[in-house]
Symmetry: C2
Subunit: 452 residues, 2 copies
């Protein structure tokens, strides 16, 4: 029986046109990261399962991980996310290096999920993290995220960054609603699903978790907030502190004030800084953003597609305080985000921001009509390549008509055709031809390069 | 108990300095490949084990593969090599596309080997293949291999390409020595190990495989050949055809001649073509090069390090006629080669050809002495980044002395320091400083870029 020509279920084959697209995306991500002085890193494809057990969300481990026992009897997994790896690596070196550390990577990851729009089992995910930058980390990471999106031609018409803060969420759930830890967790999960649910069903589910109607009402009031201004009003009202609190006070007057200051002020400060950077039009407070993973402790955010038919998250991230704890290291705060190539590609296509990668961008096509000119043809190709020009040679004797017939399949700039006695160099756009001697490889190469 | 900070045994952590080195290597490989009009592709990280069983060498499957049963009960493996994948992909599309197909990839692969110099369990391997180019494929692939090596600054003093041809080997083993298929296989393995063996032991082992002394002698004579000229003499002598054969005849006069022509002539032709391309100083006939993998059917070669303390293969490849057969497709000949980043890195380091990647190549460091100038500092950084300059911002108020103290850790080109009233732009090499207004971000960015 013949073998299947299809790829294994889940991963993809990247034929050249898909690969050019992937390279385009990765190169933009890398370029923008480097302009922010982020340094590249990578980790192992496999990690011991223990590492993920300590830090990843439960669903990831029990349902989605590709794990197995290796020949050395170790339980390992193909990486389903990059954060545990980067934490492990930073734990190795953070004592010796200057802070902040700015790192980015574009690893391939695998998760056993039902393949669907925006989700595939093997995918690449851009990851950027800044460690040890205190409150500035959040601003810079969001700035970086916006810059990456802009590098693809996206504007505030195409996407928005939805922001929240875990400290604020905990303040509302624990202090204002007074929920127990179990109910708190359930409410977290419910918030996460809010935008995919029918409002009546949502209301009903809230009341299955809360014990008093008052709690349900505060919660519903919270999730309907749409601006920072409204958030301010909401908090003031429920604390019955109306006129007494100024959230922008730098020195809170009481312990009560201090709690508020620690849990709410950072988000207000962040919005202020983003305003100074001219990024207000990109960001929006959203009470339903909580991020599923356990390790976030501060600001959390998602980049959301504004396209009415593609209302989905393209990327997500947040701040974490204790990633190094599992390695018995001192706390080192960080902020990071991840952006998958699959949702990004869908986003760029939905908004018609994706260039056409169907044809390769070659520069020159070299062919010869007589075998006797083959060595000269090869020399010319060699000279062109040494100048960095993408040069394709047609092997064996060619008919001129066939050579020109081929120029439409790939985006050549110039065709070089050798006959027995001379070299015809044709610039395709201008349709201007120039003749050269067979032995003028160097001259030809420089003149062709000059026309690029 | 705290988790281990070390990576899983086998794979590596790539901290920024190792990652910069890896990126340097991959970028050169990709750039040179594109100048030869090779197109990028990639395949899945996992393939069904069946695919490797059909085409890879036995050792790879039984001893070295990372395989497991997935959640869908399929037996899969992390790719240990790329050739089966590329064959599978080409089988999908070769009927519809123009030939030749030129493809390259730089996948991560895994093999469960004992980690040692030049070998690691997780590694990246450059792969280039040309399909459907008849005899020209071999020349171009070797030319490409030489160009990649040269792009790293390597010359014929550093490396050589050792060449042989499976058709020639079969001609010698089967026609001249008259070996049975089992003995033939054993001789193949022995040849492969020749350079690592004591000559007396080698002689003894030859005689364990052959049945007549005459056979052993022809074999030993064969493996001692060092040039194409000697090879020609060897074949002529054993065929007792001395003056009668001209290997360069295009039309052989008899069936005997035809057999010789098919099995030996291609290698002579290849050496001729390589001479025309000026590559003679890079290539050398070597009877011990046979390549372990089953799929090679024509020319085989290895790029060998000439460094006396690092006499090892950096890359290897060859021609294959029947890769698509396992998919029930018509034969489509191809030539390809693979080059691992680990042996290449060792090679470049042994010859001191590796640039220093210890420090990141950042362009500009921006800092401010007073918080009031922070917005201006951020604007300047923004303007620099929009021009593609790698710009690091020091957050919070800085002391000038500390800022300049930091410039030695990274290769900055310019330091920009804002105080309350103005901006000092210092070009580090010339030590020239220029003053600007706080609101001249755009002007500053353009002038700094102009000095690069």
């Amino acid at each position: 029986m013949a073998l299947s020509k299809s790829p294994y279920r889940g991963p993809r084959d990247f034929f050249p046109k898909e690969m050019r697209l992937r390279n385009y995306i990765f190169q933009k991500m890398a370029q923008v990261s480097e302009t922010f002085a982020y340094e590249p890193y990578d980790g192992p494809l496999l990690e011991e399962v223990e590492l993920y057990l300590a830090k990843s969300g439960e669903e990831l481990i029990t349902d989605q991980i590709y794990s197995f026992i290796d020949r050395g009897d170790r339980k390992v997994a193909i990486r389903p996310e990059m954060t545990p790896t980067v934490a492990r690596m930073v734990a190795q070196i953070h004592r010796e290096v200057a802070k902040p550390l700015r790192w980015y990577a574009i690893p391939n990851l695998m998760r056993y999920e039902k393949p669907q729009k925006g989700r595939l089992r093997e995918f690449w995910q851009y990851n950027a993290d800044i460690f040890g930058a205190a409150e500035y980390g959040e601003v810079e990471i969001i700035q970086l995220a916006v810059s990456i999106m802009k590098s693809f031609g996206a504007t505030q018409d195409h996407f928005e960054i939805l922001l929240n803060d875990r400290r604020l969420v905990d303040f509302v759930f624990v202090k204002l609603i007074s929920l127990e830890s179990e109910a708190n967790k359930k409410l977290y999960k419910l918030v996460d699903r809010k935008n995919k649910m029918d409002p009546a069903k949502f209301s009903a589910e809230v009341r299955l978790i809360t014990t008093e109607e008052r709690q349900a009402q505060i919660f519903e009031e919270y999730v309907s907030i749409t601006t920072v201004k409204e958030l301010e009003g909401f908090v003031k009202k429920h604390l019955n502190l109306a006129e007494k609190i100024d959230f922008l006070l730098d020195e809170p007057a009481s312990a009560h004030h201090e709690a508020i200051s620690l849990s709410i002020k950072p988000l207000f400060d962040l919005f202020k800084r983003l305003e100074h950077l001219g990024l207000s039009s990109f960001v929006k407070f959203d009470p339903s953003i909580v991020r599923g993973l356990d390790y976030y402790t501060g600001v959390v955010f998602e980049i959301f597609d504004k396209h009415p038919e593609n209302r989905r998250a393209i990327a997500g991230g947040g701040a974490y305080a204790n990633l190094l704890q599992i390695f018995n290291e001192l706390p080192l705060g960080g902020v990071g985000f991840g952006m998958g190539e699959v949702p990004l590609k869908d986003f760029l296509e939905a908004h018609k921001l994706m260039p056409d990668f169907t044809k390769p961008d070659f520069d020159v096509l070299v062919a010869y009509t007589h075998l006797s000119s083959e060595p000269s043809g090869f020399q010319i190709a060699d000279a062109l390549r040494s100048l960095g020009l993408k040069t394709e040679v047609i092997f064996g004797e060619s008919k001129p008509k066939k050579v020109y017939g081929q120029t439409e399949k790939k985006n050549y700039h110039t065709v070089i055709l050798l006959n027995e006695n001379e070299v015809q160099v044709k610039h395709l756009k201008s349709q201007v031809s120039t003749s050269y001697q067979l032995n003028e490889a160097f001259k030809i190469a420089h003149e062709v390069k000059g026309q690029l």
